[in-house]
Symmetry: C2
Subunit: 361 residues, 2 copies
């Protein structure tokens, strides 16, 4: 479609064009209701179908058994940094956290600030978070092990998740959820702000193993308890209906148009390989992540100078390639190539990168 750019934003990020077109087409009259999806009651059959179908698709795509429940919360992953220890780390126990970057660090800080006992089991801070630690010594008595599966800012990701034995893994998967198949059975809880792989900002998908709900202290405020959401199909109060509806369309697109998570991974792998290959054949662009820790979602790189990086980002945008500036905390460049981004967009980016190197290298 004309006027649309190739969007490499880190989040909020690109959405599949067919999803946007479907939203647009039914915005004034949702399924013959005579109302927008934003105007129907969350207690109506219309919205019930939306939320239930979305949950069922997530269950199918991720192969979740009856022992899991899919919830929709608000407040982003940052709110989960507090809710996870509040709900799941009982007084007198400690939790293992693996520190792989900005978001892990924040998760650790929030848990510590509320007086919880946190054990940083491993950290890659010694080399500016450019790798994922291996052979992590985990406490077999920990309440849980918290990881950040993909690190948006540093461009790293786990290939294999730590083996925590019987201790439940908890993962912030905001930036790689449903980018590939994944064995959910290792996890006690998975959370993901939707605005990267799954939809718009404004809803956080929480996938909880039901036995974890037994840990939730009765004394917490209602809106801070996972049990409140689990007991009411995420509708104790009015949920973020439009955001959930859009997530529903994105997972429909993953299931019906792409064909599931194996095909999603193949598509994502090809995009990442296309983009990373340029670092292996050029001295002009250098990837910032260790090769064996490279993220399939966020490709972070530097150019020979900050001036060149600035020119690169600006000229790319002129060429219809947007969102390539690195996170304000680290600088450099970053191409986020989440589920909705296309191979065509990545190839356009690689072509531009080659041209830019030719002119400035």
């Amino acid at each position: 479609m004309k006027n649309r750019i190739h969007n490499f934003n880190a989040g909020p990020a690109a959405l599949p064009l067919p999803v946007l077109e479907e939203i647009q087409a039914e915005l004034l009259d949702f399924k013959g209701s005579g109302m927008s999806i934003m105007e129907v009651s969350h207690r109506s059959k219309w919205f019930d179908d939306v939320i239930n179908e979305t949950v069922e698709r997530i269950n199918r795509l991720m192969g979740l058994g009856d022992d899991f429940q899919v919830l929709f919360l608000q407040g982003g992953a940052s709110t989960q940094f507090a809710l996870v220890p509040m709900n799941l780390l009982p007084e007198g126990q400690s939790a293992d956290y693996v520190n792989t970057g900005t978001w892990s660090t924040k998760a650790i800080k929030e848990a510590q600030a509320m007086g919880k006992t946190v054990n940083v089991a491993a950290s890659s801070e010694d080399r500016n978070f450019c790798y994922i630690p291996k052979d992590i010594p985990l406490d077999p008595n920990a309440a849980y092990v918290h990881i950040t599966s993909n690190n948006t800012i540093k461009g790293t990701a786990y290939t294999d998740f730590p083996d925590a034995g019987n201790v439940p893994l908890i993962a912030d998967m905001s930036s790689d959820i449903m980018s590939r198949p994944m064995d959910a059975s290792k996890f006690g809880l998975i959370y993901a702000g939707a605005q990267k792989n799954l939809g718009p900002a404004g809803v956080c998908v929480v996938i909880i193993r039901k036995d974890m709900l037994e840990r939730v202290p009765e004394s917490l405020p209602s809106m801070f308890k996972y049990t409140t959401f689990a007991g009411k199909n995420s509708m104790y109060n009015t949920p973020p209906c439009f955001a959930i509806y859009t997530v529903g369309l994105v997972v429909k697109w993953i299931e019906e148009t792409i064909g599931g998570l194996e095909k999603m991974e193949a598509r994502n792998r090809k995009k990442a390989d296309t983009l990373y290959s340029i670092f292996d054949s050029s001295d002009f662009y250098s990837g910032t992540a260790d090769k064996d820790s490279r993220s399939m979602m966020n490709v972070t790189f530097r150019l020979p100078s900050e001036d060149l990086e600035k020119a690169f980002v600006a000229q790319a945008l002129e060429n219809g390639l947007g969102g390539l500036k690195g996170h304000r905390s680290v600088g450099g460049c970053r191409a986020s190539i989440y589920n909705p981004t296309s191979q065509e967009g990545v190839e356009a980016l690689v072509d531009f990168m080659k041209e830019f190197e030719k002119k400035n290298g």
Copy 2:
């Protein structure tokens, strides 16, 4: 526009048609960005303009001085039930709460559940919350006085707010914010889930007097502190961009199309008078709220029997009049006539009510 019904939902509720049409028109390319508003970064100039213009319009419409700050939070009013006492009710102090219905009761329960000292200064529970208490004995040493300005379920509203002297008023205005001009200077904090008068579900507007921020305990999790949002223009983490954008369009509609809150009130008053007049001339329909406590937003009423109520709601929908069922906790009928609903819609409802009475009365 054909296919659209007259929507009397209690929330999520009707939106102005021009707002929906504007969203639809720019959904694939927001202001020449080549991206949807859902796809632009919250750190971009595009979104900065959206959030800043929305704040400025709210400031202008409500006549807020520099001593106030407008924030956008997630989790609805139900989350504010916890955040208000967590942030603003210090250990060793008590707060006055006025109980005027379901939502007030929940606000009181959440504060009490976290061990805060709550004084229920007045309640209308003795007559099933069909009125607003008057001459409320308030504690001059209270940390704040909490009220629910409009009671969606019971159809009551304050005409005049309690005079709390130097004690700041805190109000849940979810269902009547910006329905009329109002002197904000009495308030320490106002909060409102947007999904009734201001926009879609998924964002809660919080208007805080800046001196209240001094009470916020440092020890709270970042996402539960008003100071976190105040210090970052509501963008400590990714905000619910699309919901804020839609609120921006609704307040633009109130300011530019309607012409401000005095005109909004005149329009709302006329709709309410049109609808209430039927109760004063009919024994078939009986309003449930005391006359001097009637809400201008939620008109609650009963028919002679539950069977007739059921038939009324069903036949109304067949006639293009939706959302007339009372809240599941109280039954009966309810027409919510928030800002976006039209005089034309109310007149169509009144005509239908007269017809229905003729056939069934």
